[in-house]
């Protein structure tokens, strides 16, 4: 990944400052990967929001997640400079999230591969949950 911030990065960072989701990004900045669990149905969802999208309950709890998952799909963006890996990772806790796979051989990535979270601070100041092969 390049460190040059783009307009898109800046808007993402601005969006992440919203109070509804600030606990997630605050935890990430402190080196913790948390998930929003519904206090009624007990399930975690992604992307996090204050109302559970699975049961409609209006209460969530931010709980530490294992940070482990498997690659559900991955595509290396070959035209980017430098190329980088866009992926969906299915977390051990259940939901699948969009992310990047970093610190890896881009040509060795495979669906089903175990990965672990790698929190990365971007030049915008936002710390983002990426993943790396376990």
């Amino acid at each position: 990944m390049t460190d040059t911030p783009t307009a898109a990065d800046a808007i993402a960072a601005q969006a992440a400052s919203h109070p509804e989701i600030r606990p997630f990004w605050q935890a990430a900045a402190e080196g913790r990967f948390v998930l929003a669990f519904c206090t009624a149905c007990g399930k975690p969802h992604w992307y996090p929001r204050a109302i559970c999208p699975l049961c409609g309950h209006g209460g969530i709890e931010w709980r530490p997640a294992s940070g482990r998952g498997t690659i559900y799909s991955v595509s290396v963006l070959r035209r980017a400079n430098p190329p980088y890996a866009l992926a969906y990772v299915t977390l051990e806790e259940g939901p699948t999230m969009m992310t990047n796979i970093v610190d890896c051989d881009l040509d060795e990535l495979a669906i089903g591969q175990p990965v672990k979270v790698a929190l990365r601070r971007q030049s915008t100041g936002l710390t983002v949950p990426m993943f790396t092969p376990q």
């Binding site: 990944m1 783009t6 307009a7 898109a8 990065d9 800046a10 808007i11 993402a12 960072a13 601005q14 969006a15 992440a16 989701i21 990004w25 399930k43 975690p44 969802h45 992604w46 992307y47 996090p48 929001r49 559970c52 999208p53 699975l54 559900y72 799909s73 991955v74 595509s75 290396v76 963006l77 070959r78 035209r79 980017a80 980088y84 866009l86 992926a87 969906y88 977390l91 259940g94 939901p95 699948t96 999230m97 969009m98 992310t99 990047n100 669906i111 971007q122 936002l126 983002v128 990426m130």
Partner: protein
């Protein structure tokens, strides 16, 4: 209440330009509107319902209504991304059926080529108030990369191959050679597709649609008006629409909203996939065509790759003549939104006005469908079924 037969498509027009550096987006909308009205034998003063989506200047019907000086009883600015215009066919039919308007105008236009929108390469920022924004844009998901994720998962889950995907492009190019306005009229082979540069793993350059300026418009009217005009009678007999959400992180990216919009449209029309003589299927990427063929029920899950590779999409020899204008892959993808051109080519087929080399003989029943926004992060999908009366 069923909408079957409650409205007719009396006018359809595809703007011939593919590059319009000297025209405003409003002018492209207006030229498309006038083209469709002339096609129907109507004028701006006949229009009392107007439908557009976020590509319209101001992302709201008010501004184009003022530009065109329309006298309206009904307006609808529903935006569901690229399938908006398929949705508008359904909404206009409903409005006409309810008596809210008699002559509905639907327009699309845009100039991404002139504006240098590198949609396939650079991630697009949305807006800081969009709830999904920080959870996606932070990972720089350009559109080709996202479709690469769908393609690679489909390949793993079903054994779909790059060669099978390439056949979708080959089929579109065989049709585009007969379209004088097609942006890419050259016939390509499977090898050409596979030898084109990999944009993102799972997606070659020739798996991607074109980026073109341009526009299109439709005119829908109530049955009495349709019968008073000197145009072939093409009526709306089935519609379906949905939003297929990201499902809190528990979705399946090999499946699309075609599973909802398709059956709804077939049920309303009272027909089955086997009855369809011509299909316009939104082809922003080759993999998307395969996934919709499966979602609509033309093929079993995982079977569309083989279906395409057997030549079944090619007009004249295949079982399901498809995108006979060359589609978004070869002809036109105005405003990065393919839903409009899908309806227009279906109307040409039903009127017998497609190019003779690709015209389905006696075409009486056609389907048009497409997604809007991006799969995986929540997408719209709409299907319409049209019949020659």
């Amino acid at each position: 209440m069923t909408l079957k037969g409650k409205a007719y498509i009396a006018g359809a027009y595809e703007h011939p330009t593919r590059h319009a550096p000297d025209k405003s987006t409003a002018l492209l909308h207006a030229e498309s509107a006038l083209g469709a009205l002339a096609d129907a034998g109507l004028s701006l003063s006949d229009v009392d319902g107007y439908f557009c989506a976020a590509d319209a200047p101001g992302a709201n019907p008010l501004w184009m209504a003022d530009y065109l000086n329309l006298r309206l009883r009904w307006l609808d600015g529903t935006d569901a991304g690229g399938c908006s215009y398929l949705t508008h066919v359904a909404h206009a039919t409903a409005a006409i059926a309810a008596g809210h308007c008699d002559v509905a105008l639907v327009t699309l236009a845009g100039r991404p080529r002139s504006e240098g929108v590198s949609i396939g390469v650079n991630p697009r920022a949305a807006a800081p108030d969009r709830p999904d924004e920080p959870w996606e844009t932070a990972f720089r998901p350009n559109i080709a990369g996202v479709y690469g994720l769908f393609a690679r998962r489909h390949m793993l889950q079903y054994g779909t191959t790059a060669e099978q995907m390439a056949w979708v492009k080959v089929s579109a190019s065989r049709h585009a050679q007969h379209n004088a306005n097609a942006f890419l009229p050259k016939v390509v082979t499977v090898e050409d597709v596979l030898n084109s540069p990999v944009i993102a793993d799972g997606i070659h350059r020739l798996d991607c649609c074109v980026i073109t300026d341009g526009g299109g418009a439709l005119v829908l009217v109530k049955p009495e008006i349709a019968r008073s005009l000197s145009r072939p009678l093409v009526r709306v007999i089935g519609t379906g629409e949905t939003v297929w959400t990201q499902d809190g992180g528990y979705g399946d990216i090999t499946r699309t909203g075609a599973e909802v919009s398709g059956p709804a449209a077939f049920a309303e029309a009272g027909v089955t996939p086997a009855d369809i003589q011509y299909a316009s299927i939104y082809d922003n990427f080759t993999i998307m065509v395969l996934m919709q063929l499966e979602g609509l029920g033309f093929c079993a899950p995982g079977a569309a790759g083989r279906f395409a590779a057997e030549g079944n999409l090619i007009a004249g020899s295949g079982r399901l003549p498809w995108n006979t204008d060359g589609g978004g892959l070869c002809n036109n993808h105005p405003a990065n939104r393919g839903g409009m051109t899908k309806v227009i080519e279906a109307v040409r087929q039903l009127r017998g006005e497609a190019h003779p080399a690709v015209q389905v003989p006696g075409c009486g029943l056609a389907l048009a469908c497409g997604p809007g926004r991006v799969l995986g992060s929540g997408h719209g999908h709409a299907t319409v079924i049209l019949e020659r009366e």
